[in-house]
């Protein structure tokens, strides 16, 4: 029963979020600020993770190929498929759910408990739309760029590590990453990313927006935001894969 009521509250919040903005120019400015805060400032951690994951995928694939029947370029092929299909869109989104989601929930939750949201409402401003819409738009626009950068870095790091460690030459690796390449897989990955960006921002904002109490509850909202958005990412990942790949 509580779950149904929470889902209802979530959709009611969304209807408020997507109502007409009071001042378009202020919303636009807010969206640019959010793009910097939740998008650009996540670039460092995403780059680091992608580089090391690409390197590890290459080494692990190489260490598992012990049959002469399997061509060596399979290493490049596997690294590409893993990065594009799953690691960059899904795992990086899960990491962003932790970083960005907890940030959004605690920011909005703190605004709620310190009556800043009430102050917005008193001024006649649609607080849900003003606080949440710029975050959703910024994330849905910026996350695909982050994911493409992640794919590129992961695949590139795999090539470098393969060469340095002597498990595969750059030529073989390059052949592998070009082998049976379908651009649709990138489209699939980007669609997933946009859906995950919406889940991360809206679910985290929902938990922050309906926080009541004090610092303890803000912490709890932040944890719930990360947990619930992670679960929803995993579920929607399955549904989207079923719908788009098969």
């Amino acid at each position: 029963m509580k779950l149904i009521s929470e889902v209802g509250k979530y959709f009611m919040m969304l209807s408020q979020v997507f109502s007409k903005p009071e001042r378009f120019i202020i919303y636009w400015r807010q969206t640019v600020l959010e793009a910097d805060k939740i998008g650009v400032k996540s670039l460092g951690i995403i780059s680091l993770l992608s580089v090391f994951m690409g390197a590890v995928i290459t080494l692990q694939t190489a260490s598992n190929i012990d049959s002469a029947w399997i061509p060596i370029y399979t290493i490049g092929f596997t690294a590409r498929q893993t990065m594009i299909l799953e690691f960059s869109p899904t795992i990086i989104s899960l990491i962003l759910a932790g970083k960005v989601g907890s940030n959004i929930a605690s920011e909005i939750g703190t605004m709620r408990v310190s009556e800043q949201i009430d102050a917005l409402e008193i001024m006649g401003i649609n607080s849900a739309s003003f606080l949440i819409l710029p975050k959703i738009i910024a994330a849905m626009f910026l996350f695909p760029f982050l994911i493409v950068i992640s794919m590129f870095l992961g695949i590139y790091a795999g090539a470098l590590v393969g060469e340095w460690s002597g498990v595969i030459t750059v030529t073989d690796y390059a052949y592998g990453i070009r082998f049976d390449f379908r651009t649709y897989t990138v489209f699939y990955a980007l669609v997933k990313t946009v859906v995950f960006a919406f889940i991360i921002t809206s679910v985290s904002a929902f938990h922050g927006y309906y926080t009541s109490g004090g610092a303890l509850e803000v912490g709890r909202s932040s944890t719930q935001a990360v947990t619930n958005s992670s679960v929803l990412i995993i579920l929607s990942n399955y549904i989207l894969t079923q719908l788009m790949l098969l």
Partner: protein, 251 residues
């Protein structure tokens, strides 16, 4: 003038407000007093529309707030200024941006006009040249004054103050009290102050409403409150030793 009629509000099984009626007149500082948990803040939130009452009506100069559409309610909200207990300044904005924010969102002013308005408001609350400070750099009293400046920046017809003196030293509390009174008189605002600080009540209260058991149990002026025979109000007013001595001196 603000008029509330038969406001009731419950949370689960707990009836907080049981049909409260009251009116608040322009140019006067009206107080809502009562013990902690008596429903003072709930009543204020019902009046300004942050909480929807289960029953009852709220009239802002004969305009029935809860009979209005969202859009019409917005027009009334633009006429309301509110000073929150914790000031509720936006942490990520400077003092200037905080005061300018409602003007940017709702007004039709140019940037220069808005800046002029910000400076007038800051001067009014004696905080000249603090434009570029962040809320974290302000003391509690300064935050309250910025809160007042933000509330009056939109030229409100109605001003609500929720525990304006909480957490302030007695001298700063008097400064804030006097500021609220001066602004009320100067702009002929309908001011409603929620407080349990008897010093404030005696200092600036023109009209006092005492809430007890979810109802307005007593209504009168600050002169009447000191000589009241109302038992619960007496217990509330003369709870401190200082006020008991005041009563002795009055006798």
């Amino acid at each position: 003038m603000i008029e509330v009629k038969n406001i009731s509000k419950s949370f689960g099984e707990h009836d907080v407000l049981k049909g409260i009626s009251a009116h608040f007149t322009p140019g006067k500082v009206s107080f809502i007093i009562g013990q902690s948990g008596s429903g003072k803040s709930v009543l204020t939130k019902c009046i300004v529309g942050l909480l929807k009452p289960d029953l009852g009506e709220v009239f802002f100069d004969d305009r029935d707030f809860y009979a209005m559409t969202r859009k019409q309610q917005k027009t009334i909200r633009k006429e309301i200024g509110m000073l929150f207990q914790g000031s509720a300044l936006f942490d990520s904005q400077t003092v200037e941006e905080n005061i300018m924010f409602p003007l940017q969102m709702l007004g039709q002013m140019s940037k220069d006009e808005m800046l002029d308005r910000v400076n007038v408001c800051l001067e009014r609350v004696n905080l000249k040249d603090t434009n570029h400070l962040m809320p974290a750099e302000l003391s509690g009293g300064m935050k309250k004054r910025v809160g007042i400046a933000r509330a009056i920046s939109v030229n409100p017809r109605y001003l609500f103050c929720d525990e304006p003196n909480s957490g302030l030293d007695p001298q700063t509390a008097i400064v804030i009290d006097n500021l609220i009174q001066e602004i009320t008189r100067e702009f002929n605002i309908t001011t409603v102050v929620v407080s349990h600080d008897m010093n404030s009540v005696i200092e600036i209260g023109d009209d006092i409403n005492f809430i007890h058991n979810g109802l307005i149990a007593w209504h009168g002026t600050k002169d009447q409150i000191l000589n009241t025979e109302h038992k619960e109000l007496n217990d509330f007013v003369y709870a401190s030793e200082f006020m008991q001595q005041v009563r002795e001196n009055l006798k």
